[in-house]
Amino acid sequence: MDLSHETLVWVAKTFGLIYLVILSIAVVAYACWPARQKEFRDASTAILNREDRPWR
């Protein structure tokens, strides 16, 4: 392998944290985006409709 051990260890130690922060922001933004709230509300109540047959 061309990459030296030090480089890989450095990447491991720094990249994870950066990735964690970016991903957290992205996920929270996705989940809390106002335009999506209706979709989420519909999705969570729709499963309670027990019409037990396919829709077609």
Binding site: S24, Q37, A43, S44, T45, I47, R50, R53, W55
Partner: protein, 553 residues
């Protein structure tokens, strides 16, 4: 047989073709693998394939099934999957309790090689995790994906291939250990050919899921499916990487792992811990996010939180495997990284547990009256407890005490008995009447009995091993005033005896509960009153109306 006649003629022909190819492969290994244990497995595959091929042949020219089938979901594989789940539960928990007693009385075996502790122990772990847990996940995922997508499964053959193929993998695994076939990697013991077979089955499973999602009538993909998808995808990744190995020959059951030493150790525990994460957590969270709201008659408390927790779990679990290797020859920075992420992981884990419990707010009277819903509630509680305990045990200094002791075993069983099995039994008791179109389970009282046996069994088991583990860990590190080790290792073995007895009794209670479940399943299928049309169509939103008209309790 109706199940076979319900397949289209084309599907029956393909099923027969697959079975005959499998029989041929089995025959090849049986004949050519002479002198190697792989021959036994070849014969086993041959016999099982033919046993399925004959009934298919008998119904090959039955008329095409009615076009009416498109007006209903395809539940036959789920029904068989539910039965298999109970069968594996009874079998694997029986073996588990047997090995528990072997730690009290090592002579309680037949004296033959197959029944020694070291061979039975993976039978128990594989039987419970893959046999019981895996079948529960497959059976419920077929059910859930159809209902949440409002669409019938895209075909009738691939779900059978997944279910039967998966059970063949489990059978090869379990019989293999008894024959002495094992890779010795914990929770990944099956040898190379069983592993390859599982890859084929798993790809089919993934494709089936994607095809169902692609045909869905609901615009949004319900969050339970996200968890099931993560379970399928990541387990595939883990399985392939951790099982990389070179077979001794193509007619030998034995293989040698591609990695060695420290690389192998981290790969194994990366796999091992994420088997916990994506098999025993993500999949069962999918189950919880569907069955708990439905049984409670209330939508999930926070859909947003379920999404945030989902990505948190998917991302963070992958980092934590190295906490299994604290203070070992693994470089310390990897240990520290594993520990850090283990602690952060508590956030999404408790997010999920809290989400489940808050969903029940306003439905606590149902929890009181309905043992099925109580199974799910207790599962969420144990999920919260176990994830907290797991993060705690991942701290290096705590791990120095807990590692190698029975505390770890206690922790795993708090998760397995308290979370995984409880949510599964809850989901199964919810879906059995729906699948078989019954009014309810034959005996609600028996569900109640199962619940209390399961809860008391778990409590006895977990408390026994917490005590055992902590005493063990302390005895190993206690010094006398002169600076010598105070206890020999044997002292700690002797000290364990009362706890091992208590653990085996706790396991026995749990096993009895599962047997009560098996009986109830049989009675429900055979004797329970069929559901009336009105009842099966009734929307389950009454809880929602309750909440709107009266203050939460």
């Amino acid at each position: 047989m109706d199940v076979i006649s319900n397949l289209t003629m084309d599907e029956r022909r393909r099923a027969l073709l697959i079975l005959l190819v499998m029989a041929l492969v089995g025959l090849t290994f049986a004949a050519a693998g002479h002198g190697d244990p792989i021959a036994v497995h070849g014969a086993l595959v041959l016999v099982l394939s033919l046993a399925l091929a004959f009934p298919v042949m008998g119904h090959l020219y039955d008329p095409e099934p009615s076009i009416e089938r498109f007006n209903a979901y395809y539940d036959d594989p789920s029904k068989v999957g539910v039965i298999l789940t109970f069968v594996w539960a009874a079998f694997a928990m029986f073996v588990g309790d047997w090995v528990a007693w072997l730690m009290v009385e090592p002579t309680w075996t037949t004296g033959s090689a197959w029944s020694s502790f070291g061979r039975l122990r993976p039978v128990h772990t594989t039987g419970v995790i893959f046999g019981f847990g895996g079948n529960g996940l497959i059976a419920t995922s077929f059910y859930v994906m159809q209902r949440t997508c409002r669409v019938r499964l895209p075909d009738q053959l691939s779900p059978w291939f997944v279910l039967i193929g998966y059970n063949l993998f489990c059978i090869l695994a379990v019989t293999g250990y008894l024959l002495g076939i094992t890779q010795s990697k914990e929770y990944a013991e099956p040898e190379w050919y069983a592993d390859l077979w599982l890859v084929i089955v798993w790809v089919t499973y993934f494709v089936l899921y994607m095809r169902t999602l692609a045909r869905r009538e609901e615009p949004h993909i319900y969050v339970a499916n996200w968890y099931y998808m993560a379970f399928i995808l990541v387990v595939a990744m883990l399985h392939i990487v951790n099982n990389l190995a070179v077979p001794v020959s193509f007619l030998s059951a034995k293989s040698h792992s591609l990695f060695s030493g420290v690389q192998d150790a981290l790969t194994e525990w990366w796999y091992g811990h994420n088997a916990v994460a994506f098999f025993l957590t993500a999949g069962f969270l999918g189950m919880m996010y569907y069955y708990l709201p439905i049984r409670a008659g209330r939508p999930i408390f926070s859909y947003r939180l379920s999404i945030i927790s989902f990505w948190g779990i998917t991302f963070m679990y992958m980092w934590v495997g190295s906490h299994h290797l604290h203070h070992t020859a693994l470089p310390q920075w990897v240990q520290t990284l594993g520990m850090t992420f283990s602690l952060v992981l508590l956030v999404p884990s408790w997010g999920s547990a809290a989400n489940a419990l808050l969903t029940l707010n306003g439905a606590w009277h149902k929890v009181r009256d309905d043992a099925t819903l109580r199974f799910m509630m207790i599962a969420a509680v144990f999920y919260g407890l176990t994830t907290f305990e797991g993060s705690f045990m991942a701290i290096r200094s705590v791990n120095a005490l807990s590692h190698y002791t029975d505390w770890t075993v206690g922790h795993v069983h708090a998760g397995a008995l308290g979370w995984v099995a409880m949510i599964t039994f809850g989901a199964l008791y919810a879906s059995i009447p729906w699948l078989w179109k019954r009014e309810r389970m034959y005996s609600p009282a028996l569900v109640e009995v199962h619940f209390w046996l399961a809860l008391s069994g778990t409590a006895v088991y977990v408390f026994a091993l917490w005590n055992a583990g902590i005493i063990q860990g302390l005895m190993w590190r206690t010094y006398t005033e002169n600076g010598n080790l105070a206890y020999t290792f044997l002292d700690s073995v002797v000290a364990m005896r009362p706890y091992y007895i208590a653990r085996a009794l706790g396991g026995l209670l749990y096993l009895l509960g599962a047997l009560a479940g098996c009986l109830n399943l049989y009675l429900t299928i055979r004797f329970a009153a069929p559901a009336t049309e009105a009842a099966s169509r009734k929307p389950l939103r009454d809880g929602l109306d309750d909440a709107a008209t009266q203050p939460a309790e």
